[in-house]
């Protein structure tokens, strides 16, 4: 779907979307269309329950006296509530109503809304952004989709008085959408296509945007001493990988921001194998790594004035004759030893080495890791919040605020020392699991042992990475939760100038 911005009345084909404020208040263009069509709009509203509430719609087919095939009335809600996030949601609503409606072109008439803080240009840009996010589909492997199920919408035109300003406002959002699309593609791909080396290859493709990419194979990691990460991958035929992505958009002397992702390309659980039901979901156990790749792309595409390093640990967790066993003790890069009680608590083993490597090598401003880490976080927070754990109050507050602003909310959970004794081991420095109680917290306490004096936040995204139902700007499937959140965090607090 292509998104463009144009002056009003430049296009007359397809469907026209008109805005209506709560209380059936017609905006200027809507009023004009109404009078040009002999009161079609007001008559249709009067005959319906359409009130103009946010995301309410009313479809009018073949409107008399107009060239358009159909009109879609779009409820905006009260003017004062209209902000960027709400505008994005409206874009999502337009797409959900018209994606497969047989119209190749949809024009949305953007009017100036009195009482809203949003300019028409920003309104148009954000509506376009929401539409783009919602229009995502992963249909690479459908070979026989019926024509009526395929998207018809090819072109979304945002008709606005100042298309130049809207285009300018849209550019950074388009970059974020590119990042989100990449993340969703990587998460949606099956594990026979995306495995450590192929995922590293996808990350390497970011060099075309000016990102420096390094790949470390098993030999190199063994030399460094990454015993925890390598132990997880040793049951697989596929070679484990560590990928470092660097975007140097800031001053050379500024320490980078570090984003770290768990990339278990398939998690069978290993010898502590998972039950069969739902195991196919474990193709998205690399969601954290995919978010880091998508974020790097978004930042590079908009030439963000900031230094960022993305580090992802890529492994496949498989049972086999060479697999890690429950009870094995591994030595991490930090020198600390871990007794592997459960081979299915493998994400924290990978992250332990990647966290240590990142802070040692890059001395970053902060480290934020993302991981589909625990089932416990689904019992704690469900699919509406990611779990946030941090050793820094300011970073936590910033992440919380950014999450609310973009609609990817996080909720902070505690890291008290009292939880630490749950991961004490009889024979090593620690165990990799701490029991059923406080399962997400003990996982975070484990990671905390691999953080020195660096500001650090851990996002447990196990509940939010894959959605079973459509959301306002996220079709069901891979959400890319984290790309927009972290992009906003960087934009709001860490860019030069």
């Amino acid at each position: 779907m292509k998104i463009s911005f144009a002056k009003p009345d430049s296009d007359l084909e397809g469907a026209l979307v008109l805005t209506v404020l709560e209380g059936r208040l017609l905006t200027a263009t809507t009023r004009t269309v109404d009078s040009n069509s002999g009161g079609t709009v007001t008559r249709a509203i009067a005959a319906s329950r359409f009130e103009g509430k946010k995301d309410q719609t009313l479809l009018i087919l073949a409107p008399a006296g107009l060239a358009y095939a159909k009109l879609l009335l779009l409820g905006v809600g009260p003017a004062k509530a209209l902000d960027a996030k709400l505008a994005q949601g409206l874009g999502g609503t337009v797409v959900s109503q018209l994606l497969t409606s047989n119209d190749a072109t949809v024009t949305v008439a953007i009017d100036s809304i009195d009482g809203s803080a949003l300019t028409p240009a920003d309104f148009a840009a954000n509506l376009g952004f929401g539409a783009k996010l919602r229009a995502y589909r992963f249909d690479r492997y459908r070979t026989k989709e019926k024509p009526e199920d395929k998207p018809s919408l090819k072109k979304l035109v945002l008709s606005v008085a100042e298309p130049g300003a809207a285009k300018k406002s849209f550019a950074p959002l388009a970059a974020i959408a590119e990042g989100v699309y990449l993340t969703r593609d990587l998460v949606s791909e099956p594990a026979n296509v995306i495995y450590p080396e192929s995922l590293a290859g996808r990350a390497q493709a970011l060099t075309e945007h000016g990102i420096e990419v390094e790949r470390l194979g098993e030999k190199h990691m063994r030399k460094l001493g990454m015993g925890a990460l390598l132990g997880v991958g040793q049951g697989s035929e596929r070679e484990s990988q560590l990928v470092v992505m660097r975007w140097n958009g800031g001053h050379a002397d500024k320490p980078p921001l570090a984003f770290i992702g768990k990339g278990v390309t398939f998690d069978s659980g290993g010898i502590s194998i998972k039950p069969a039901g739902g195991m196919e979901d474990m193709k998205w156990d690399m969601g954290g790594a995919a978010v880091v790749i998508g974020l790097m792309r978004a930042l590079a595409l908009r030439k963000a004035p900031v230094n960022v390093v993305g580090v992802i640990g890529l492994v496949e967790n498989m049972p086999s004759g060479s697999a890690q066993r429950p009870g094995d003790v591994v030595t991490t890069l930090s020198g600390q030893t871990v007794e592997v009680i459960n081979t299915d608590a493998e994400g924290r083993l990978v992250l332990a080495d990647v966290l240590w490597y990142t802070q040692d090598r890059f001395k970053p401003e902060f480290m934020i890791d993302l991981a589909t880490l625990t089932g416990a976080v689904i019992i704690a927070l469900g699919d509406q919040f990611a779990g946030l754990f941090s050793n820094d109050d300011t970073l936590s507050e910033r992440l919380t605020a950014a999450g609310l602003a973009v609609g990817e909310p996080v909720w902070r959970l505690p890291l008290d020392d009292g939880y630490d004794k749950q991961i004490k081991s009889e024979i090593a420095d620690m165990m990799n699991v701490g029991g059923r109680e406080a399962g997400s917290i003990t996982a975070a306490m484990f990671l905390k042992r691999f953080v020195k004096d660096c500001k650090w936040a851990h996002l447990d995204i196990a509940g939010v990475t894959w959605s079973k139902k459509d959301g306002s700007v996220t079709p069901k499937g891979a959400t890319a939760f984290g790309v927009r959140l972290l992009e906003r965090l960087v934009t709001d607090h860490y860019q030069a100038g």
């Binding site: 019992i379 704690a380 749950q422």
Partner: protein, 471 residues
């Protein structure tokens, strides 16, 4: 029972002394004990010709917070209780308020299940220590600081006594009888059948004992002041009902009335110190049993608030009895503040484990006050989301609401939101899910393994902070 007395000077016998005192230094110099670190919770008993001297580590004088002193007291009792000393004198040269906190810690720790559940005392667990004398220059001042704390400790002990009682001893009528013994509060019983508390009625209908809503009134404030209402879940035994629980550890379900026990303890504490506020304790008491007349999964019940509830899981019964209790109390008392405590969900244990209880409220100020009170009293809370984002999970196909979903998800959040739906808007309300905190399976400084009495000290502290601090 540990008796606390006060004296100006020490007599012969066992004596606890501060590690930094000249007497202790002289003893440590002679002792063959290689190192003694003068830190809180370090103890060294030394037998001298004058009797036992217990060297007590206190660390730097600035580090002695109330919480550290309580821990030292708890440790002191735990270490010495079975050691042959019947009378311990404590002379640590501390200010009155500090020695009081230490004595408070000793008394909190000096609790165990009532002897009536045993034929013979366990010889491993005999306590010799039954009297502690606080030696100080101003016994009257120390006594004045200590007595209110000991009263509070008794209230915590009441909550533990109720929670530890086997469910054949503490049946619903026996629970009510125990409430009659609380001094200074007026007990009122509400018949669920007459008051329209159909949800409470339904949960109890499988049992041979009738459910009841017990109200404990304390009127220490002005006549016209709106009361504070404290609500507790009081399921004297929770089998799960027709959705019966797995048998492993089901005996622990005798503690499913710990929320109500904490409320009873809190009311006893308010009355004991004649708190200048009005308060009502609301205890939703029922037994959840499977039987030929028990509540069935799928049943629809219309409770006090008028909302109908489809019962998906008869083992999600706590939220049913609380819904009626909260609705009834909100509409009858128009409280200035309402807090409920309940051993409500397994999900909160998966979330927060055994270090913090889940706190749910829409009121940021109340959340901050509760969190602060919890930190001050070692009864820690962590706020979790109270949100309409999960309303789909408690939406029913046939009734206004359902009590839960079988889908794997944040049941503690669903339960909190379920409760909120039964309350009038704008009411200052908080819900504490104490399922992970009502019992401890290991000894802690202020209690042995078993029921903790969690909530009594937290509530007492909160109400003092909110209503009884001089402006």
């Amino acid at each position: 029972m540990l008796t606390i007395t006060y004296s100006r000077r020490a007599g012969p016998g066992a004596l606890a002394i501060a590690a930094g005192s000249p007497a202790a230094q002289a003893l440590l110099a002679q002792s063959d004990q290689p190192v003694f670190r003068d830190e809180p919770e370090q103890l060294l008993p030394i037998l001298t010709p004058d009797g036992w001297r217990i060297v007590v580590g206190l660390g730097a004088p600035g580090g002695l917070s109330a919480s550290v002193l309580r821990r030292i007291g708890g440790m002191l009792f735990a270490r010495l209780a079975g050691g042959g000393i019947a009378h311990l004198q404590v002379d640590l040269a501390l200010p009155s308020a500090q020695i009081a906190q230490l004595a408070y810690g000793m008394r909190l720790r000096a609790w165990r299940p009532a002897a009536r559940y045993r034929q013979k005392a366990d010889p491993e667990k005999i306590w010799h220590l039954n009297r502690v004398t606080l030696v100080c220059s101003t016994p009257k001042a120390v006594e004045a600081c200590t007595v209110p704390l000991l009263q509070l400790a008794s209230a915590v002990h009441l909550a533990r006594d109720l929670a530890v009682a086997p469910a054949n001893y503490l049946t619903p009528p026996a629970f009510v009888a125990a409430l009659r013994d609380i001094e200074g509060v007026a007990l009122e019983l509400v018949d669920p059948a007459r008051a329209g508390l159909a949800l409470l009625q339904a949960v109890g209908q499988g049992s041979q004992y009738k459910p009841t809503l017990a109200l404990l009134h304390w009127r220490g404030g002005a006549h016209q002041d709106a009361p504070v209402v404290l609500v507790g879940k009081g399921i004297t035994f929770d089998t799960g009902g027709i959705d019966i629980k797995p048998r492993l550890n089901m005996h622990a379900m005798k503690g499913d009335m710990s929320g109500a026990a904490a409320v009873a303890g809190a009311l006893q504490a308010l009355a004991a110190r004649r708190a200048p506020i009005n308060a009502v304790g609301v205890l939703a008491i029922a037994e959840n049993m499977p039987s030929g007349r028990a509540l069935r999964p799928g049943d629809v019940i219309q409770g006090h608030a008028g909302l109908s509830v489809e019962v998906i899981d008869t083992d999600a019964e706590g939220r049913l009895v609380l819904a009626d209790a909260l609705s009834y109390a909100a509409r009858r008392f128009h409280p200035s503040l309402m807090i409920d405590l309940a051993t409500l969900t397994g999900a909160v244990e998966v979330t927060l484990g055994h270090h913090r209880a889940g706190l749910f409220t829409a009121d940021d100020g109340l959340a901050a006050s509760l969190v602060a009170a919890g930190e001050a009293e070692e009864e820690k809370l962590w706020r979790l989301p109270l949100t309409d984002r999960y309303d789909q999970a408690i939406a029913s196909d046939v009734a206004d609401l359902r009590n839960c979903t079988w889908e794997r998800g944040p049941d503690a959040l669903h339960a909190a939101r379920f409760l909120q739906r039964f309350l009038p808007e704008g009411l200052a309300w908080a819900h504490l899910d104490i399922a992970g905190m009502s019992e401890t399976d290991e000894d802690v400084p202020l209690g042995a393994a078993g029921p903790t009495g969690f909530g009594v000290r937290l509530l007492d502290r909160l109400l003092r902070d909110l209503f009884e601090t001089a402006p």
